[in-house]
Symmetry: C2
Amino acid sequence: MKFSKNNAKFVRSLQLKKYRDKFNNFVAEGDKICKEILTNRQLKLKACFVSTAWQAAHPDLLSLYKDIYSVVSPTQMKQLSALRTPPEVLIVAEQQDWSFSALNLDSKWSLYLDGIQDPGNLGTILRIADWFGWAAVFCSADTTDLYNPKVVQSTMGAILRVPVLKVPLEEVKTRHNEISIYAAAMDGENVFRLSEAHPGILVIGNEGQGIRSETRAQIDRKIHIPKGPSAGAESLNAAVACGILCATLNQY
Amino acid sequence: MKFSKNNAKFVRSLQLKKYRDKFNNFVAEGDKICKEILTNRQLKLKACFVSTAWQAAHPDLLSLYKDIYSVVSPTQMKQLSALRTPPEVLIVAEQQDWSFSALNLDSKWSLYLDGIQDPGNLGTILRIADWFGWAAVFCSADTTDLYNPKVVQSTMGAILRVPVLKVPLEEVKTRHNEISIYAAAMDGENVFRLSEAHPGILVIGNEGQGIRSETRAQIDRKIHIPKGPSAGAESLNAAVACGILCATLNQY
């Protein structure tokens, strides 16, 4: 795809979920994520727009994408970008389609996100799953869109490596009926003092409401992060709680 | 302070650090944080603007602030607010002045933020310090402004409870010369396998650059968060790493 007014309109339309869903495409902007996409080579690229400077600085990377990439002027980049400061590189790619049957959940931890709404939290959680080598991130239907530009940005590349599947928790349980479901709850066991913990699925609840009652009914084991003495906060940020639980469960 | 065009202009000016510094004031918007401010009673309030509905719903809270609060119309609230959806309640208050000498750092952990830039991260880190009952959060001069509206929002009230002081790490060390400085580093000890750890100061580095060399020179003990097998990510989000380290260090 080369630059044209119509194509710029199409690229900008992908800021909205409606159009991302319709075309099954998404946009990635900026040096860090675009380099990861070009190196990783898992995604089907539709377009790669670069500045003259970026082209000059990355001949090796771009040599693999001769038919796809094209150089645009700063004015043209501004028409493609949703960022306040337009990037040096912008990619349009097809959304990744992770299949359940290709996953290996045996002896591995996974996450189930029960309606995470904040794009920054979703991106940060993928980065956590990537760091700790967790097998997959399952999401409820109402979890925020994986290809929201803020999610793509905040994953720092983890979006390319961590399998993310929108599938109900019940279905995961049906396919792996031995798997245990863990979740944070005030009346749970101290996660630092478990006698043992076998890899299973850790549920992370919605930022405001926590875990929904339908989901709560499926929990096998409740755990909690102990507060310090004289602590004041009512709760931790969802991604922070997720990070503490993943790090600690990985120790068993 | 009652509503007027000039006062609305003043309130909106507090979105900028320049005017927050000049007047030593800040703005808090929305139900959650404003309720905490009115209940906590630590802050000197300059104004409290409420909708008719909010007034009707919170007679007890507002009875303590009869001379301060005033009811505004939705149109007036829109002129005061920086939010896309104007809130039901908005407070203008004096910034809190925490004094070093009032702190009790003995046998308590504290944080030192070495140039945290993202307001969401700063807010989330205060919430972590609040949850784990840490004594204080010290910040380098270039750490993002505590009273940035996004910080105020994301602390979920922790901003009222956790002492935050802009003071160089060196000064903290001079005042408490026995205190140990901990920091995350790739070549550090596994934080889950320390033989012991006595409360000290944990340094959290800038999101992109990590810990600066001047600060690095003052570190007594390096620790790290172990990656999982087959892990991909290069790093964790700064607030998530902070959460994992605080939770784990609290266990010793």
